[in-house]
């Protein structure tokens, strides 16, 4: 049943396909959400590999005390751009630009995004922004070297002269606008392009998370852009917004930055939570456990995350400690609800450990620990002792690497057959997981101890007398193992490309609408749609005897043994 006819003005259907561009020209001109989504993914993975290589250099520098593998200046540039690229150019765009673009319209039964040209524009702003950030390394004075947070007044023209910091500012502005446009696009698409019957409370959780992420971006990114403009004006026109000399307030930068920066953490995490919530039910062959609770937990995370920014500033002595401490502790509750929801979904299921599920379980494992150490840091006294140490580094890598890499690659493997029409080699994917998992834990668990022993973050060197050497060596070796894991992944992709195995339309017995179309989907996504009567229409279609609409609360007349278990 064809329900969505595209209005291709003045182009008959046949001719449009005849003129279909290919190759580079397609890449430059396409407004198809699937191609833009894939472009986003490829581009962000390139940035991921570059930033990952920087991480290898950073860890190599820290392998020995008093190491001179790179100069302090180079080291500072490396960790600044490593952090900026991972946060602004990889983790966000990979999920929010890549997966959301590709999957969200498919999951709601839409032919494309609401604003296809705006979508293409945000991709190009993202690419040019990323290139702009890397350009810093090619200037005489090097890239920005003030950390990804760019604290004033270290980021002023006096303390960080040269083109590198300016390039960083411009780059983040471009990427920020890209993010805002994508957010507008996704929110609008979710509101106005759903297929008939796809009510808000039938949306897949992935769509919900992307939608909430979009709202968070709209709250957070404009603040960042405004702050960057202030910083630029300070640097070039002597505005003194952030400099004491002219009556400015340096700590205002921290307030503005973290008002963006903390929601940003959830902007990075929520899309990946969404992927996890898609993958766990499919491989457990059960619906999402506690759907509405999960939706409201997501909204609660979004709301609370905007009220916790100053927990990054506990040690400034200028913020209201109890308020931010309470809000930060509270955010553990909806996050905990999510974790228990995933476990509840697996509970009494038929959990199958194909590679996407393996990555997701790895994610839950890592993220639980990262989340719990986050609760520790929400207490100001504990933060006084561990702030800006490797304890924090380990904490946020567990959270962010956990989400962006474990959940991200779970999602990547999960939707890879849909996006390419090919399967990957399952054994290599599993090997990829195990090597990543071991490497990751070997890298970051020692960093908790390093932090407790008082190793500050962002130091280019440490002393032999500090007794940090052994733990740092373990961590560095772990980093190399993690790096090696991505060679396995690249090999897998290469083999899948050269010796393709055709994937079926629905290789995982998926639940949501993207599995109702072909692999890869046709130009306007759907030739026909199944009727949408529940949160997982494709499951209902394939398993009519277990269809959700027949027993919306899990009561199934064909399975009388369920009685008594609600």
């Amino acid at each position: 049943m064809t329900i969505l006819e595209e209005q291709l003005e003045s182009h008959p259907e046949g001719q449009a396909h005849h003129d279909e561009p290919r190759g580079l020209y397609l890449w430059l001109t396409s407004t198809d959400h699937k191609i833009i989504g894939k472009n986003y993914m490829y581009t962000s993975l390139v940035f991921f590999i570059i930033a990952g290589a920087m991480a290898m250099l950073i860890r190599t520098q820290l392998f020995s005390p008093n190491n001179h593998f790179v100069s302090p200046q180079t080291y500072n540039e490396l960790f600044t751009i490593h952090g900026s690229m991972m946060l602004y150019l990889f983790a966000g765009p990979f999920a929010f630009g890549g997966f959301a673009n590709y999957i969200l319209p498919l999951q709601i039964g839409a032919p494309d995004m609401a604003f296809p040209r705006l979508n293409a524009l945000s991709y190009w702003l993202y690419v040019t922004g990323g290139i702009t950030m890397l350009l810093g390394f090619f200037t005489a004075s090097g890239a920005a070297a003030f950390g990804w947070v760019a604290y004033a007044p270290l980021s002023s023209a006096t303390n960080s002269p040269g083109a590198g910091p300016d390039l960083w500012i411009v780059s983040i502005m471009l990427v920020g606008f890209s993010g805002i446009f994508t957010a507008v696009n996704l929110v609008t698409t979710t509101f106005y392009l759903r297929a008939p019957g796809m009510t808000m409370f039938r949306l897949p959780i992935f769509v919900w998370n992307m939608f909430v992420t979009g709202l968070l971006i709209l709250i957070a990114f404009p603040v960042l852009t405004a702050a960057l403009i202030m910083l630029y004006v300070d640097r070039h026109f002597g505005a003194h917004v952030f400099s004491v000399a002219g009556g400015g307030i340096p700590v205002l930068w921290q307030n503005l930055f973290w008002f963006f920066g903390h929601p940003e953490v959830y902007i990075l995490a929520l899309p990946f939570f969404g992927m996890v919530t898609e993958i766990v039910p499919v491989f457990s062959r059960k619906p999402v456990f506690g759907y509405k609770g999960l939706v409201f937990a997501t909204l609660a995370i979004a709301g609370l995350s905007t009220g916790v920014w100053a927990h990054h500033m506990f040690t400034t002595g200028t913020v209201l400690l109890p308020f931010f401490s309470a809000m930060s502790l509270l955010i553990a509750v909806p996050t905990g609800i999510k974790i228990f929801t995933w476990i509840g979904t697996m509970w009494k299921g038929q959990v199958e450990f194909r590679s996407p599920m393996l990555f997701v379980v790895g994610f839950i494992f890592v993220f639980t620990m990262g989340g719990i150490t986050g609760v520790l840091l929400a207490a100001p006294p504990i933060d006084f002792a561990t702030h800006d140490t490797y304890f924090v580094v380990a904490h946020f890598h567990q959270v962010l690497f956990g989400t962006a890499v474990f959940a991200g690659f779970g999602g990547f493997y999960y939707w890879y057959p849909k996006m390419t029409g090919r399967m990957f080699r399952e054994n290599l994917a599993k090997l990829h997981f195990w090597v990543t998992f071991i490497g990751f834990n070997v890298t970051f668990l020692p960093q908790y101890l390093l932090g407790l022993k008082g190793m500050p973050r962002r130091i280019a060197e440490y002393l032999p007398a500090d007794h940090y050497t052994t733990l740092n060596r373990i961590s560095t070796i772990g980093a190399y193992i993690t790096g090696a894991a991505f060679i396995i992944w690249m090999a897998n992709m290469w083999i899948s490309w050269r010796k393709p195995i055709k994937a079926s339309d629905n290789p995982w017995d998926g639940h949501t609408l993207e599995w109702a179309t072909t692999s890869p989907p046709s130009h306007h996504n759907f030739e026909k749609l199944p009727p949408i009567r529940s949160q997982r229409p494709v499951w209902d279609m394939n398993h009519p005897e277990y269809a959700d609409w027949a027993n919306p609360d899990g009561h199934d007349s064909s399975q009388p043994e369920k009685v008594g278990e609600r």
Partner: protein, 262 residues
């Protein structure tokens, strides 16, 4: 540049001193405090420093409470996760399991219990935070600490000023058992005044003057660092802390003051 530090053997001392602290610290603290630290000292520190000040020990107790809760919660979560992972693996072709959508009872359980835990943690935090942040109105000593790129300056009463001297880091001298109020400022960029063994750090912010108290409970040498990234030589912005008995401290201070007037 690096040779200057290895020449300073005393840096390794904190570890030695820390192991001795149990005995020495209790000798000096009051009875009530001894009772608290007795019970707390029997707990492991979970990797953290014992805290060489009353404020630091207060932090340690909060840390111990938090990490025990964390281990407890983490163990339950991981336990449930692993149970689910191993117990509910698909075996054979696998039947389709019961399609459970929700269970309000369990959802309430895993919402309310975390809320209760959070309330408990917040109450503990609030109490501890008030004590750690308290600034005495009549401290025995006031020291002004200036963070600059890339070093620390300590200003004692009577014009005594300690700065990095060539190859030697400055030493912050503190009297044991007495409360010292530190006034922390910076004139250039943000620095982090961090003494790991005191379980404490605070930003030196341009435009903001921060005050906080240290009441050391044990003598010895401790490391101090800059925790907030402050530019090129951030890693080498170090200092040392030496806690001595009040009499030793007074003779040290008067000898320094004589040097100033001389």
């Amino acid at each position: 540049m690096r040779s200057k530090v290895s020449s300073e053997k005393s840096i390794t001392e904190p570890n030695v001193k820390r192991s001795r602290f149990n005995i020495k610290g209790r000798n000096l603290a009051g009875l009530a405090l001894a009772a608290v630290s007795l019970s707390a000292c029997n707990l492991p520190t979970f990797g953290a420093f014992r805290g060489a000040t009353t404020q630091g020990q207060n932090e340690l107790h909060l840390w111990q409470g938090f990490i025990i809760t964390a281990i407890f919660v983490g163990a339950i979560t991981w336990g449930v996760l692993f149970y689910a992972v191993f117990k509910f693996r698909r075996r054979g072709s696998g039947n389709i399991p019961k399609q459970t959508h929700s269970n309000v009872k369990w959802e309430l359980v895993y919402t309310i219990i975390p809320v209760l835990i959070v309330i408990g943690l917040f109450a503990a935090t609030y109490v501890s935070e008030d004590q750690i942040d308290a600034v005495s109105s009549h401290p025995a000593l006031r020291v002004t600490v200036v963070g600059f790129q890339w070093g620390w300056k300590f200003e004692y009463p009577g014009g005594v000023t300690l700065v990095p001297n060539g190859s030697i880091y400055p030493v912050l001298e503190l009297p044991k058992g007495e409360t010292t109020t530190i006034k922390l400022i910076s004139n250039d960029v943000v620095h982090g005044f961090y003494i790991p063994a005191f379980n404490f750090s605070r930003y030196a912010l341009p435009g903001v003057t921060n005050y906080f108290d240290f009441t050391p409970t044990t003598t010895g040498y401790f490391q101090g660092k800059c925790s907030q990234f402050c530019g090129l030589y951030h890693a080498e912005m170090l200092f040392n802390v030496r806690v001595v008995s009040p009499t030793q401290f007074n003779s040290w201070l008067s000898s320094q003051q004589k040097k100033v007037t001389a």
